[in-house]
């Protein structure tokens, strides 16, 4: 417990995702599910009812060959820093923004499953547990002890690997570091990305690579006009990719994406 008179230096954890480097392999999605004990798909699950804390969308520029181009855009909770929509609508106070990290957290134990937050989220980054979480016999042995599996009937989403953050805090405390300083850790998707497209760090630390990348001219955020000030920054040198940031959902109005 941090005493009230301590001066905590607040972090603002965020990411930069270089869309031009993402090849849509899906390693981030798998690593996220393994890390956060997200169960395999129920047989009735679809792209609408699935649980994917991070989802890679395939988008295209809408042109015909030879001008057709596609790109892959990983989308997770954007960890809105201003007027966070899901926090506002939750009747259960099950969603909050941690002032010491800037992470938008979800408390499934409080969640009633009303799904207001899903309706409010402009990024479609929240997922509802339609079924009891189930793993094939024996596979429950592979669950990560740092994360509690969630129950049916609650909403869940990316929390920037809160379990890893806790572990990093414990390690820092064990090493005798002051608990008022932000800790350094890496979420599972960042660690797993084989192309190094995703970077993570403290956006409040101007010297961090992530903060510098977020300030680059080719950096942008999704739906910036809403002024939710997400902490997930995207980067691309392609104008048409930057243009899709203003679309309500990556990939247009139909089925959200396609495959390569």
């Amino acid at each position: 417990m941090i005493s009230a008179n301590k001066q905590i230096r607040a972090a603002r954890y965020g990411m930069t995702i270089d869309v031009d480097r993402c090849n849509g392999c899906g390693a981030c999605m798998v690593a996220c599910s393994v890390e956060n004990n997200v169960p395999p798909a129920h047989e009735g699950a679809t792209d609408r009812k699935g649980l994917t804390w991070i989802r890679v969308y395939k988008v295209d520029n809408g042109e015909e060959y030879p001008n057709r181009r596609t790109a892959f855009v990983p989308v997770m909770c954007q960890h809105c820093g201003n007027e966070t929509p899901c926090v506002h609508v939750c009747p259960q106070q099950a969603v909050d923004v941690d002032p010491s990290t800037g992470v938008v957290g979800e408390m499934p134990q409080r969640c009633l499953g009303c799904r207001y937050c899903m309706a409010a989220c402009p990024y479609h980054a929240r997922y509802f547990n339609w079924w009891d979480p189930a793993w094939p016999a024996g596979m429950e042995k592979t669950l990560n002890p740092g994360v509690t599996p969630r129950m049916r009937g609650v909403v869940e989403k990316c929390n920037l690997c809160h379990g890893r953050w806790h572990a990093a805090k414990e390690q820092a405390a064990a090493a005798g570091k002051p608990d008022t300083e932000p800790v350094s850790y890496v979420p599972a998707c960042v660690e797993a990305c084989p192309t190094g497209a995703i970077h993570f760090g403290d956006l409040n630390d101007a010297s961090s690579a992530t903060a510098k990348e977020a300030a680059e001219p080719d950096s942008f955020r999704l739906l910036e006009k809403l002024n939710t000030q997400p902490k997930i920054y995207y980067r691309s040198k392609k104008d048409w990719v930057r243009g899709i940031a203003a679309a309500p959902r990556p990939g247009g109005a139909g089925k959200e994406n396609s495959r390569g």
Partner: protein
Amino acid sequence: MKTTRREIMLFAGGSAVGVLFTPAPWRLLTDTALWSENWPGIPAPARGEIRARYTNCSLCTAGCAVRARCVGDQPVALSGAGGHPLSHGALCAFGLAGHHLPYIPSRVKQGPVKEAAAAVADGIAKCGPAEYVVTLDLRPARTASWTYRRAMAAVKNGRYVTPAVDSSVAVDLSKARTVLSFGVPVLDGWGTPGNAIAARPGFRLIQAEPIESRTASMADQWLRIRPGSEDTLAQGLAGQIAHAAAAEGTGLAEREIAALAAQLEQNGPVLVLGSSRLESTGRTIVSRRETPVPAEWQKAAPVTDLASLPDGSVRVLIIDESAPGEYLPWKAIEKKLVADNPVVVALAWSREGYGRHAQHVLPVGVYPEVAGDIPPAIDSVAATFRLSVPLVPVPEACVKPEEFVAAAAGLPVTDTLRERADAIHKAARGTLFTYADTKSVELKDVKADDFWKALNAGGCWIDAPDDKAPAARLTTAVAELRPVEESDLPLVVVLSHELTPGSPILSKLYQESNLRLGPNCVALHPSCGLEDGAKAVFETLLGKCPVAVTLDAGIPPGLVQVSASPAVLDLCASGARAKVGRA
């Protein structure tokens, strides 16, 4: 004062409404869900000491270095081991969930081991002079492969058969300035993912294929050619046919082909993948020394391919499917079997492959249960030796494929991995790279026991660079696309090598999202007349199978993209004609 019934009702109602304006009910409501935290249906993760163990992924020949986070001895998460000179800390989506494989629902858990051994012995005894005993090894150049070759040398009319893979040739991506790929997924599962990504800034990638794959979307230039016209394009670029003829055959503009030919001329060295018609230049393809083996192993059966066996000649066929590799269509195998009562044994952990056809399916250990070595990847210029280390115990019912084959041939079974490690140590060349400390040491400075210990703790022997390695040609190491077959069927098949049998968590990629094409799924242009998600029948000249339809505007009309599962590979290859009709 007399209290009326009406006043009591008003008081109760007013209280009820008033309470809603206090925090009390809301706080209670907040906690009502707390009980479900320990819902009996939710598994509780095991607790224990967390430690790291190191191994190598054996799901493909990339053999990426793996760091396993374990609770006690049980791996709970896998990640790439950083600092590795070839895999560079990268691990693909399949490798990240490799620790789930022992628990997949479709796993073969029991099998008639004694009956199969008796049938094989009987088959060998009955083998006629023009008949063969064959071991089909889907992943050659392993230590187990040498056991098979020695076993087949010890058996009368024994043959060792592999898919067409030439392990003596390697691709050097770091030397290429231009890579021209005919449908080879250079950035999506080909070679060693980490190595291809690390080398990517150094070359210009030109991808020629009919559908914009992941590699095509990351390429500097994508050439959308007609399916089956790869060879025509290669001929045009090689100057064997006129650019105009190549343009007509491929659907590209004549100036595109001329510009491409000029590019290849000016921006060398050029590496050509997927076509042997065009020459790669500048030592981008070189011969690779073989990983040393004990001298006594050299008395082994030669490597042969299936096509060289006469039809109707295989009396006994043992298929080692324990290490995933290139799948040979069952139709091609079936015609090689003798007509009367052939013996077919599949050593497999899943029934989705040859287990569907074999008389005897024997269970085998799966990654990361069993120890085994991984042959060098196609993009590893130096020979390597690394072990997939057992992280969890193998079920008792499982057989060891090499022991089964050796026993059938009467070959004494020894600790072959250790023997080969000793042979490498005796050669005293190259370096040992250890994953825990990311250090390389000269092998000649390491004792034999320490070398073996290091290999079992996650380590990799990398051969010394061979600067005099001669340039070579890729003839069989990369599958070439075939011309479109003649038929009345309206669609042309483009295979998508999306999913090998893997963890159920991979459903995130195809069922719970649309990132990849799922098993038994086909992708068609929206103008095909079928609805998204419709149940359909996929039909080729060789047969039919049920599929689910996915509509994708990125698929040109007239093409059907199919996920290359064994059931589909039994029916077609890329370039085949097909029909997709409503079920």
